[in-house]
């Protein structure tokens, strides 16, 4: 069963280069272990939310806006897609994802077709 592990955290924490390098190294290590255990499907980090553009829909109109949706203190910063037997296994991986204090990982099963 596939689960998306969505990483939400305050991206300000990574404005300093050393902090960013450190967390990237941790992610690389974790992803390597996921690959080794055969649970890694895909994963990526996202560029900061200031690079985001949002397409909004209202009736027939689609309008393009600067910035992410919605505006919160925590931003979607990256994700892992893992293939594991059950929620407990997905949660065990989620707990190992490096996040800054106050950040969170949302674990969502994918729709099975």
């Amino acid at each position: 069963m596939q689960y998306m592990l969505l990483i939400f955290e305050d991206e300000q924490a990574y404005s300093q280069q050393p902090a960013l390098q450190d967390v990237v190294a941790q992610h690389m290590k974790l992803a390597a272990e996921m690959r080794e255990k055969g649970v890694f499907v895909s994963g990526a980090g996202l560029q900061p939310s200031q690079t985001a553009t949002t397409v909004r829909t209202a009736g027939a109109a689609k309008t393009v806006h600067d910035g992410p949706y919605p505006e919160t203190r925590e931003q979607l910063g990256g994700y892992y897609l893992v293939d594991v037997p059950d929620l407990d296994a997905a949660l065990a991986w989620a707990k190992r994802i490096p996040v800054v204090d106050g950040g969170s990982i949302e674990v969502r099963p994918l729709i099975v077709h």
């Binding site: 069963m1 037997p85 059950d86 929620l87 407990d88 949660l91 065990a92 674990v107 099963p109």
Partner: protein, 410 residues
């Protein structure tokens, strides 16, 4: 009630949770298992009335449920070819005999851990557990949790959907998650019991509901006899339940623990609790439920000694505050402190407990404040506090108690 119906009633009550858990473990689908079990019960009602009860009713129900479950799966796979007048699957005598030889596997623990998974909404966990393990009806659950039946059905349905959609496993968690998961199970049980215990007059529905949580705590002890906190919570529930008969005065007023007649406490239940606590202590891993139970046991010792060991109780509360800090525990500690160090010290502790104002709407806090102020000779403050407590409580027994206290103040 015919013999068949009485047998069915007993089999469902004694083995229903076990049968359902075994079906869930087999089919990995709570809804399917419930449907199959309900069908087995309906088939039993008819067959047992006609032919008399089988030698092993539980095995019969399990076999019928298993067969129905397989049948439902087969039908789902060939949904196009579904015919509603298919012959109804009832276990053949051979099948029932086979089931008798092969004991129903006890999968209740796996089911309890799934139902109390922290990924489920806290208010759904115990309702779902009581539904599937104790077979409580939606109607009774709705009454116990003070919500409408529709809301309760929604709550249960949402939880079951999440178990299925997110693939919450029907497994006893491994050591890495054990602490968190067992805590969730115990907390669910504690909340359920507190709900049943809240109203001192809880004679009818409340008492019945308390009985179910009492039973469930016993099931957990059978399943996890080496977990001291499981034993501690079971002891705690028994100690509280033992006092049920002494909690209500002649005029329907709540009688506080310290004024209860120990002769009215249930000796058998107290004995059971003592032996549970003894077994827990032998495991040498203390925890908040054992400490709480020890506090209740200290109160119960008044039955033998005629005196409450207040100094011991304060020490136990000190330990509890360290393990599980909470403003409510601080209030109880302050009340015990009054008997050891006097009302002025207790008053100071009470005020400190509510330093952040979190207890402003907590009736027991104001009741305690009223008592301690009265002892300290501060009658106006006592009256104000008791009046505030009275504004906050809804149950008649507690109201009568507070009214009496107010009248005593003059």
């Amino acid at each position: 009630m015919t013999d068949g119906a009485a047998d069915l009633d007993r089999a469902v009550r004694d083995a229903g949770g076990r049968i359902l858990a075994a079906l869930v473990a087999r089919f990995r689908d709570l809804d399917l298992a419930e449907e199959a079990f309900a069908f087995a019960c309906a088939a039993a009602a008819e067959a047992w009335r006609r032919d008399g009860p089988p030698r092993d009713p539980a095995a019969w129900l399990y076999a019928a449920g298993r067969r129905r479950g397989l049948d439902l799966i087969r039908r789902a796979k060939v949904r196009g070819a579904y015919r509603p007048d298919d012959p109804e699957p009832v276990p053949t005598p051979e099948e029932a005999a086979m089931a008798r030889l092969e004991p129903i596997p006890d999968e209740r623990l796996r089911l309890i851990f799934a139902c109390c998974h922290p990924a489920l909404a806290p208010e759904a966990r115990i309702a779902l557990t009581l539904r599937v393990i104790c077979g409580l009806s939606v109607e009774r659950l709705a009454r116990a949790f003070l919500v409408g039946e529709t809301a309760m059905i929604q709550r249960l349905t949402r939880a079951k959907q999440k178990i299925r959609a997110a693939n919450i496993p029907f497994e006893v968690p491994g050591p890495e998650a054990w602490g968190e998961r067992l805590e969730a199970v115990l907390a669910a049980l504690e909340i359920a019991y507190a709900q049943a215990y809240e109203d001192a007059a809880g004679a009818g529905e409340g008492a019945e509901f308390a009985e179910e949580t009492l039973r469930l705590s016993g099931v957990l002890v059978d399943l996890l006899p080496a977990e001291p906190e499981v034993l501690g919570l079971a002891a705690l529930i028994r100690l509280a339940e033992a006092r049920r008969g002494a909690r209500l005065g002649a005029e329907g007023e709540m009688v506080p623990l310290t004024e209860q007649d120990p002769a009215l406490w249930d000796a058998g239940m107290l004995g059971e609790a003592a032996s549970l606590l003894g077994s827990a202590a032998a495991l040498r891993r203390t925890g908040p439920y054992q400490i709480l139970a020890a506090i209740h046991a200290a109160h119960a010792s008044r039955r033998e000694t005629g005196e409450t060991p207040w100094a011991d109780i304060v020490v136990l509360y000190d330990a509890l505050v360290m393990m599980r800090p909470s403003a409510v525990v601080e209030v109880n500690r302050a009340v015990a402190l009054e008997h050891v160090a006097g009302p002025d010290v207790a008053l100071e502790a009470l005020v400190a407990a509510n330093a952040e104002g979190r207890l402003d709407d907590h009736a027991p806090y104001h009741a305690a404040l009223g008592r301690v102020c009265a002892e300290a000779g501060r009658r106006d403050e006592a009256r104000a506090a008791l009046q505030r407590a009275l504004d906050l409580v809804r149950t008649p027994a507690e109201r009568r108690f507070l009214e009496r206290r107010l009248a005593e103040l003059g």
